[in-house]
């Protein structure tokens, strides 16, 4: 499971050899640790306009040293480029070239974060071209960055502003080590629905202090497939962030499930999510023990890989039943239940296979693309009224499952991403935790890939 090459290439002599031979040189990613300092070095806020000015003020309030222009030779923790004022493609030149100077000064694990408006909301073709152009430019920057640095974008929808609590929540997420393996991604932010975010969370977004280390305090989260792998890590990270975790898995996985529940101080609930009464049992358990269900993480999933030509009904049907049909049925029951919070969050695990397809995974890709379809349609039904549903699409993650991939294929799969390595279960869990938090209140119907900007689906 461990990436031996990553360890090797980060020791002095092999690092020099790899450089001389032009071999991939993946960096050890900057991941979240308790008491994390968001930006030990100055942060550039590039771009003109009131939105950029307001955002720079907020960052100053977070005790971050803010620069509005690059100072020659000064290291930068991050470059935030605010492009919401762009009205035609020509407007991109100045801010992008400024960004070009900044990326040379980024420290290892640095961040590039674009803040822009959606092409879908543009007033005409020229503005749409400018806005869509940023998408291509920032994705290219993500490919160019080295040293574990990433580039991502925050797309403001409707009347969302650069200082909306959700915008700031997304900004904090991208600045933080929590987003270590999220690269080349754009997340759309709508203005934060009133009442969907606690005063405390809003104050935190504004001040950068307070609940930052326990953003899920007081919330009850259900995690399916929690007995091992990514699910167990999601349970751990949600609990670390303050949530009470109900760890769900099939009875057969009960022993590991109990270990997970005991290690995170949660409760274990053995059930098969494909059973008709699965949601009822989850709701009963949560109502009795905790009152309200705040967070649902649909993580449970199976693979039954076969080329379509060799596919049998049981492989196809079992994958659909577990990976998507169960979620649809449970969501319907959760959403209809008064136990599910008015500001409830659903986070569903998709996969890059569901986006790009993958050889031998037509059934799996159908289920995971289905998750994306479900998330978008359900998000529209929620309509930004307080509840939200989003998907997280992991790429190549170092788990027991990917450890079974033949060694050479596995090595290639790892190096195909911009970060030249596989992600860790914690990387997926961090994104799930972010989407589960009050700080993500204005994010609804989004699919965030945790794939290190992988070139292909995995």
């Amino acid at each position: 499971m461990a990436d031996a090459y990553l360890d090797l290439v980060n020791t002095p002599l092999p690092a020099r050899i790899a450089k001389a031979l032009g071999l991939p040189r993946p960096s050890v990613l900057r991941r979240w640790t308790p008491g994390e300092v968001l930006a030990p070095h100055p942060v550039l806020v590039a771009g003109a306009g009131a939105g950029a000015d307001a955002l720079a003020d907020v960052l100053l309030g977070w005790d971050i040293e803010v620069r509005r222009h690059v100072l020659p030779g000064e290291k930068l923790s991050a470059a935030v480029v605010v492009l919401e004022a762009a009205t035609e493609p020509a407007d991109l030149a100045a801010p992008m070239l400024e960004l070009g100077h900044a990326v040379r000064l980024l420290v290892p694990g640095g961040r590039v974060i674009g803040v822009l408006r959606s092409a879908a909301d543009a007033s005409g073709p020229a503005q749409a071209a400018a806005r869509q152009g940023i998408d291509g430019a920032l994705r290219s920057v993500a490919h160019e960055l080295r040293g574990g640095a990433t580039a991502n974008g925050i797309i403001l929808r409707g009347d969302a502003t650069t200082t909306d609590p959700t915008t700031l929540g997304a900004l904090r997420f991208f600045l933080s080590g929590r987003s270590a393996y999220v690269d080349g991604q754009f997340v759309e932010v709508a203005s934060t629905p009133s009442g969907s975010i606690t005063d405390l969370a809003a104050a935190t977004a504004a001040s950068g202090e307070g609940v930052a280390d326990q953003p899920l305090a007081g919330k009850t989260a259900v995690v399916t497939g929690a007995a091992r792998g990514i699910g167990a890590k999601i349970a751990e990270v949600l609990a670390r962030d303050g949530a009470r975790v109900v760890a769900v898995d099939v009875p057969a996985a009960g022993e590991q499930l109990a270990d997970v529940a005991n290690s995170v101080g949660g409760t274990a609930l053995q059930l098969d999510i494909t059973a008709a009464d699965a949601a009822v049992r989850i709701l009963d358990h949560v109502r009795r023990r905790f009152g309200t269900l705040d967070i649902v993480v649909h993580n449970a999933g199976i693979t039954r890989d076969k080329l379509l030509a060799n596919m049998d009904a049981s492989r196809w049907e079992s994958v659909i039943a577990v990976n998507i049909a169960s979620q649809l049925r449970m969501n319907e029951q959760f959403i209809a239940s008064p136990v599910f919070s008015e500001t409830g969050r659903i986070v569903s695990l998709a996969s890059t296979s569901g986006i790009a397809g993958n050889r031998g995974q037509s059934n799996y890709a159908a289920s995971k693309a289905g998750v994306i379809g479900m998330v978008r349609a359900q998000a529209a039904e929620f309509g930004g009224a307080g509840r939200s549903i989003n998907a997280v699409a992991p790429g190549f993650i170092e788990t027991d499952m990917t450890a079974k991939i033949p060694p050479l294929t596995r090595q290639v799969a790892r190096r195909l991403s911009s970060l030249q390595q596989g992600g860790l279960p914690v990387d997926v869990a961090e994104t799930v935790a972010f989407l589960s938090s009050d700080a993500a209140a204005g994010i609804n119907g989004q699919v965030i890939r945790v794939c290190g900007q992988n070139l292909v689906g995995a």
Partner: protein
């Protein structure tokens, strides 16, 4: 009558003790999945599964009581050691109890009484047994030599003591289920009782068959999803034979009672096998359950222990529950008609059937139990509805916890009142009443 009795009992008890839930590991056949697990390992696994189910991590439970029948001398503090190895607070006190196969049920009774008295708010009762990892003792001769050696001062003395050692002293004493006072195994004792009550082979096989059928059906409908946590790769009781039939059971050769005048009827199919496993039950006061938003499956109403003279007298070794039950019913003003579920531990099919026959026998009930007439019949459709020891197996001290948790859940789902009967070595037995809360 039943309502009056309940009120009367409530008046006697200062508080109510409730069953909140339970957890056990699947029972394995001796030498099987848990061949290399100790009693302590299995009791920890059962406790940790319970802790996980109810979120008790780091909690100081009022008291934990458990025990084992086959016990190493090093496990003198077995339950406390298991608590220390579990996810419970290390400040949770614990004690060991041993009453042969009634150990598990007796821990439930003891802790329930403490809860009723207000001495504790919560308790975990249970038991564990490993027939695989059983202690093997050195012979009495070797033991005496070793003890004398430890006291010897001179080399001469040591040589003299060692010279008394005989080859036969070197063979170890394996544990058995033999009765110390009769030398007969439990199966041979039961064979005498089974024959005395003229219990047929067919009736015993039918009971065993139903035990397997009921247990398999309970698994199939997910009954054990919140009563059981897999352990060491075992998901279900290893002894369960969902596909067995009276015909298959009829092909097995008798193993007990072959020396009796009547034909031997007891086989490996209608007797419990040697089994490894552990089971625990979470008990609490109503206040404790409410304060922690925990379920209340059933009330622990009352219990009675009895013992019979199987050595000098002519009562069967495993017939003590037959004596305990009328006393318990009388104290609570109840009859068989007041019960909806009967959990009679299937040490052997013959034990259950002999007990039923005895309660139905007017002459026996008058003469031996001192009753006015027959105690009555039990509706077989209410008996061991989710299977019992013949199918699940019988890790001696774990059986009480298995039965209490399963019956409490059944009562919470279907309402009513349940009776538990567990026989034990030494001519002892414990019976208890659980009651649904609505």
């Amino acid at each position: 009558m039943a309502d009056q009795a309940g009120a009367q009992n409530a008046a006697q008890s200062p508080r109510t003790a409730v069953v909140i839930g339970g957890n056990r590991i699947p029972f394995a056949r001796a030498g099987g999945a848990y061949a290399y697990s100790s009693n302590r390992d299995m009791l920890i696994a059962a406790l940790d599964g319970l802790v996980a189910r109810f979120g008790l991590q780091g909690e100081r439970i009022g008291e934990v009581a458990a025990g084992a029948v086959l016990k190493h001398s090093r496990d003198f503090n077995l339950t406390r050691e298991a608590v220390l190895g579990s996810a419970l607070s290390p400040e949770t006190p614990a004690y060991d109890l041993q009453q042969a196969c009634a150990t598990g049920l007796e821990t439930v009774v003891g802790l329930s009484n403490k809860i009723k008295l207000g001495q504790i708010e919560s308790g975990i009762a249970g038991g564990v047994d490993s027939a695989s990892d059983a202690p093997i003792a050195v012979s009495e001769g070797l033991r005496r030599v070793l003890l004398d050696l430890s006291r010897a001062r001179t080399t001469q003395q040591k040589i003299r003591i060692l010279s008394t050692l005989r080859p036969k002293d070197l063979s170890p004493n394996a544990p058995g289920t033999g009765e110390p006072r009769t030398g007969l195994s439990m199966g041979e004792h039961q064979a005498i009782t089974t024959a005395a009550w003229q219990i047929t082979r067919e009736a015993q096989d039918e009971l065993a068959y139903r035990s397997h059928q009921n247990l398999a059906a309970a698994y199939d409908r997910g009954f054990f999803a919140d009563l059981l946590t897999p352990y060491r790769g075992l998901m279900r009781d290893a002894n369960l034979r969902a596909d067995t039939s009276p015909e298959k059971l009829a092909t097995l050769k008798p193993v007990f009672g072959k020396g009796l005048d009547s034909p031997a009827t007891m086989t490996a199919g209608n007797s419990t096998p040697l089994t490894d496993g552990a089971a625990v039950v979470l008990l609490g006061s109503e206040d404790y359950a409410r304060a922690n938003n925990l379920p209340m499956l059933a009330n622990v109403v009352d219990a009675e222990a009895a013992a019979v003279d199987f050595v000098q007298g002519d009562e069967g070794l495993l017939m003590a529950p037959v004596h305990a039950l009328p006393r318990l019913l009388k104290r609570n003003g109840l009859t068989f008609a007041d019960f909806d579920f009967f959990e009679i531990h299937e040490a052997f099919a013959g034990t259950v059937l002999s007990s039923l026959a005895a309660w139905e026998d007017e002459e026996y009930c008058r003469r031996v139990l001192g009753l006015d007439g027959a105690l009555g019949s039990i509706d077989r459709s209410k008996l061991n509805v989710n299977g019992s020891s013949l199918a699940a197996g019988h890790p001696f001290a774990a059986t009480g916890g298995r039965i209490v948790a399963s019956l409490a859940k059944t009562l919470s789902e279907q309402g009513g009142r349940g009776l538990i009967s567990v026989c034990a070595a030494g001519g002892q037995g414990v019976v208890a009443i659980l009651e649904a809360r609505n």
